[in-house]
């Protein structure tokens, strides 16, 4: 049979799943309730007719099996860490151990109400205490809050702590200095704490320009917000001078802990002069990203900042039991209801317990080894704008490919065809056309070799057949999305046919 004779089937049904609303028809339901064991009530009488809702217009009506098919099909259109290498730089997309999911779902943990009396929540409180103790040892700091829900939330919390401390000293100061390689959340978070921001340039080695910092570090500067290693993957080797400079002018050193995966068991921020630090448990400590959250962004501080931590904090009572303490007059207040993203904290603790001291050090070594191996394998094919030694990630740029009209975004799309999740595109901003690659410790040598091969192939394609790269991806269910159309005429929700599209 020749190829023309083969009858092509229509696209497989599992690739054609519509919206859940489009599966709906009246009278179907996916859940049933036990019969009511108390008298039924007349809602209109209890609530008042004016408060009564008759129906939720447009809500889906589907059976259980349709729900399962629908979301299972959707899931197959995603790429997860369990699918393959996830190269997003500064995102630390490492393997998410399965036991962590099991322990977070244990009866007694998953169903604990946040207002349980302390006597009935000792297990939860011990988990909080154990995680705090571990994290403090890992980062070399003195006190910690587990309340912030994400990295950016931690940044805001950390800067509020800086502000509260400086206010208590008599002058909150006005500015926060942020290196030009920093994450975009840094300036936005500084604004939330009432600070203006000033950008500090990088030198030719890709680290903070000390002379510029010296000029900028005036007595109106509250803090320097440093990421270390920075977003180029380079350790700020003048960290001692930087800390000394900031401290000598009355400022505080804030560290964005996004890249802590490079330092576990090797170097501790508390030992190199950092006063306040936020961690990303969803990066360094393996809690799943969940398609964009939840995360957790604990903030660790030196002792002098401890009185300002958000309420509540966990304290040990005389009888050895644990409790929340709310009465802390110097506290910045609450940054979140209850006590933070507890389920995420459980998973992070499970990860630390599983690794232990040796395991943490080993994973950092592997993460750096992987990154360096990748860097070595790609140096010939892609331009490396900074030659300094790198740790857990490295940043290339598209200079050589751009001559053929192929940019970093195109290379990323083509990498999808080779079965990998792309790296971070066009960040950090100080590298035009950046390819920011962080392989993490979770990739084997075989996977890295395949990846290097893929990126080298693409570098050749960029020269020999740029259209193949420019039109990529070719092997996905949908092609490149028309983002211009999406932004010009936003359609942000489904509406029943017949109703004007919004």
């Amino acid at each position: 049979m020749s190829e023309q004779d083969i009858k092509k089937a229509r696209r497989h049904v599992s690739q054609n799943e519509g919206l859940i609303f489009e599966r709906s028809s009246p009278g179907k339901a996916g859940a049933e309730l036990p019969p009511l064991d108390v008298p039924a009530v007349a809602a209109a009488e209890l609530l008042g007719a004016q408060n009564l809702r008759t129906a939720i217009d447009g809500f889906p009506e589907v059976s259980e099996v349709e729900v399962v098919r629908h979301f299972t099909r959707l899931s197959t259109w995603n790429y997860g860490v369990d699918t393959g290498a996830y190269l997003l730089g500064s995102c630390t997309m490492k393997y998410n151990p399965k036991i962590n999911e099991v322990v977070a779902r244990l009866e007694g943990i998953a169903n604990a109400h946040p207002y349980l009396p302390a006597s009935l929540a000792q297990g939860c409180l011990r988990i909080l205490k154990a995680l705090s103790d571990c994290l403090l040892e890992i980062v070399g700091m003195d006190a910690l809050t587990l309340q912030p829900a994400a990295g950016a939330h931690g940044e805001m919390t950390g800067l509020l702590l800086v502000r509260a401390y400086l206010e208590a000293q008599g002058n909150p100061r006005r500015k926060v200095l942020i290196p030009d390689s920093a994450h975009g959340t840094n300036p936005a978070s500084a604004y939330m704490a009432g600070y203006q921001t000033q950008s500090i340039g990088s030198n030719e080695r890709g680290t903070v320009d000390l002379a510029q910092l010296d000029r900028a570090m005036k007595d109106d500067v509250a803090a320097l917000m440093l990421t270390n290693p920075n977003t180029l993957g380079i350790f700020e080797d003048q960290i001692a001078q930087i800390a000394e400079l900031v401290h000598s002018r009355g400022g505080l050193l804030y560290m964005d802990g996004a890249n802590l995966n490079a330092l576990l068991g090797v170097s501790r921020p508390g030992d190199f002069g950092v006063d306040v630090l936020h961690l990303n448990l969803h990066k360094t400590f393996s809690t799943p990203h969940g398609g964009g959250g939840p995360g957790a962004g604990p903030v660790a501080v030196k002792q002098f900042l401890e009185p300002f931590l958000p309420v509540p904090v966990v304290v040990e009572r005389a009888d050895g039991s644990l409790a929340f303490e709310f009465d802390r007059p110097q506290s910045i207040g609450r940054v979140r209801a209850f006590c933070g993203n507890f389920g995420v904290l459980v998973r992070a603790l499970a990860y630390i317990l599983a690794n232990g001291a040796e395991g943490l050090r080993q994973l950092t070594e592997d993460a750096v080894l992987n990154s360096r191996y990748l860097r070595k394998g790609l140096e010939g094919a892609y331009e490396l704008p900074y030659a300094s030694p790198t740790l857990h990630e490295c940043v290339f740029c598209d200079k050589r490919q751009a001559r053929y009209g192929v940019r970093t975004g195109d290379i990323a799309k083509r990498l999808i065809d080779y079965g990998f999740h792309p790296y971070t595109v066009s960040f950090p901003l100080i590298v035009p056309g950046a390819l920011m690659i962080e392989p993490t410790e979770s990739e084997s040598k075989q996977e890295l070799d395949l990846l290097i091969d893929a990126l080298q192939c693409i570098a050749r394609e960029a020269i020999e057949e740029p259209e193949t790269v420019l039109q990529a991806p070719h092997r996905t269910r949908v092609g490149r999305m028309d983002e211009v159309q999406a932004a010009r005429k936003p359609i942000l929700r489904w509406k029943p046919p017949g109703e004007a599209a919004s």
Binding site: E483, V484, A487, R488
Partner: protein, 128 residues
Amino acid sequence: MYPTNFRYTREHEWVLIEGPLATVGITDHAQEELGDIVFVELPKVGGKVEAGKPCGTVESVKAVSDLYSPVSGEVAEVNAGLADSPEWINQEPHGKGWMFKAKLASTASPDQLLTAEQYEAYVRQETS
């Protein structure tokens, strides 16, 4: 390329002054740099604009750029069609994609502005 009866700013706006009225838009070079424009935020009719000060924003999918007024005065009219059709700015930046008209505060000709020839030279220099 750049109409000679327009004047230009280093922030890449153009202005056409006709009597007391100035019409303002962004240049072809600016729209080219921004890419597909998806949204513009224009000053309010009746509001004041000041030469060299931001008075609105122009957005593409992944960038936002401030719109600086080349002149001082009161906003007399805005191009309402841009709300639904921001692509006009890409299609005809010096025509259908105009942004607002302002009644000039003084009739004195603004001296900070560039001629078409000067602007073209400026763009060449900036991109080289």
